[in-house]
């Protein structure tokens, strides 16, 4: 997470006044004034999410609706920019995906939900203007591209999120991981998905901006719920092994290098019924076939010293291996954790490397991700 330096005045989310009232420490992030933490602090907010339920304001993220007379036309159009199975996505189902460039690099990552009448995209705050331009340029003649600027986005995350939210509308209990639907909450018409960025069960709630504060207050009034800021959001997602765009994935990393190949279904890969047809498909299919020279790994520190973004990684002889793309002391795992890109011959679970922190080598071991187990409420297959 990094603040974006900008001379322009910071934008505010519909919950700005509530953040101040709750005592949040506000920081610039992607052009917005956002709460990095509340008085409880990042560690307490992190624990709140792992043990009960935490409420995050993620209204800075972009919500974009793609619509056509036949929503399948919007899905077909999106498949020309994103290697997902948008056409095969049933109403009420959600997928993770990304925009790619001609070299197969990642332009932004996103969540996609098929709704009755349209496709809902949620994209990163820093990329939303560029994403909108990209969609309009390439798809504008095939479907409508509508930013939902009049809607806020709240994330309620944690093992007790379901119980807290069900008190506002018992119907939400029917949703399972990566499913979405329309629900009324605190008198507001909302679109919910059961998903998030913490590794926990939870919901993301798209709510009309003018009803967002009342809904947030109704959620915070539940005994399980407390507010959490971007600081905890970052430690939670890192423990969950989830990539942060601009750090762990960029325009110069491909989905295969990033270990995100699972998000590209067979139908869009070489030999599939709708193979390719998106920017960089040849490069990405080539990497699926032959592998990549380096790939994203998770690292666990064997000492207590936190290892942070930008830190150099070396082998036992001091030879350069790569750099850390995200790192912190994992509050739940209780050890330094990091993500980095390593050459394939080092990117093996159990392999030991050294992080150079203030001139000292700190041993780290390539570990499986997620660092903290995902606890999603999945619908059983079949």
């Amino acid at each position: 997470m990094s603040a974006t330096p900008t001379a322009a005045p910071l934008l505010r989310t519909p919950l700005h006044d509530l953040h101040l009232e709750l005592g949040a420490r506000m920081v610039p992030f992607a052009g917005y004034a956002m709460p990095v933490q509340y008085p409880a602090g990042i560690l307490a907010e992190h624990r709140q999410c792992r043990e009960a339920a935490a409420l995050f304001d993620v209204s800075h993220m972009g919500q974009i609706a793609l619509a056509a007379a036949d929503p399948a036309d919007a899905a077909r159009a999106l498949e020309s920019l994103v290697p997902v199975d948008a056409l095969g996505l049933a109403v009420g189902r959600q997928r993770y995906g990304f925009f790619t460039n001609a070299a197969g690099g990642l332009l932004d990552d996103l969540m996609l939900t098929r709704r009755e009448r349209d496709l809902l995209l949620v994209v990163n705050a820093a990329g939303k203007d560029a994403d909108l331009q990209h969609l309009r340029t390439h798809l504008g003649h095939r479907c409508s591209v509508q930013p939902l600027a009049d809607r806020a986005l709240l994330a309620l995350q944690g093992p007790q999120a379901g119980a807290a939210l069900a008190r506002l509308n018992p119907g939400v209990a029917a949703l399972r991981f990566m499913e979405g639907g329309e629900f009324e909450l605190a008198g507001a018409p909302c679109f919910l998905t059961r998903s998030g960025y913490t590794g926990e069960d939870g919901f993301e709630i798209s709510v009309p901006a003018e009803r967002a504060e009342a809904l947030a207050r109704a959620l915070l009034a539940q005994p399980e719920v407390a507010p959490a800021g971007l600081g905890a959001r970052d430690t939670l997602r890192l423990e969950a092994g989830l990539c942060l765009y601009g750090h762990d994935i960029t325009a110069t990393t491909t989905p295969v290098e990033a270990g995100l190949g699972w998000a590209i279904p067979k139908v869009r890969r070489a030999g599939g019924a709708r193979a390719g047809g998106y920017p960089g498909a040849d490069a990405i299919d080539g990497q699926f076939a032959t592998g990549t020279s380096h790939r994203r790994v998770g690292l666990v520190g064997l000492e207590r010293v936190p290892v942070r973004e930008g830190c150099e990684l070396v082998d036992a002889h001091g030879h350069h291996l790569g750099r850390v793309t995200s790192g912190t002391l994992g509050p739940t795992v209780g050890q330094p954790i990091a993500m980095a890109y390593l050459a394939a011959n080092h990117a093996i679970v159990g392999h030991e490397v050294h992080a150079v922190v203030r001139g000292q080598r700190q041993p780290m071991r390539v570990g499986p991700m997620p660092f903290a187990p995902h606890r999603y409420l999945r619908r059983m297959a079949g």
Partner: protein, 124 residues
Amino acid sequence: MTIKYTPEHEWIDLTDPSAAVVGITVHAQDALGDVVFVDLPAVGTRFAKGDVAGVVESVKAAADLYMPVSGEVVEVNETLRADPSLANSDPLASGWFFKVKPADAAELDGLLDATGYDALLKSL
């Protein structure tokens, strides 16, 4: 009790002139957030005023700890090393970092007193 401050938000308690106690201020720990790691100097190391003598790391950031005065480290707080959260919960007492034997009494005049440090905080 004589406590002085640096513009870098360290405090130094000069009650014992042969073992002055050094820590970070309430403002410093608040700005850092939850402290999760401290790197302390080795006992016996000599530093000049302004040298980096340690590191304090929160969930979000790492910050250097500067020597308020020139001198030799005579003791470090092993309790803090084991429980870095003391830097947040008790920064002016049990959350101390190390003790130093000042080498040059004249340097002490360059430090801020409580009034001067309060004025500095108000100007931030």
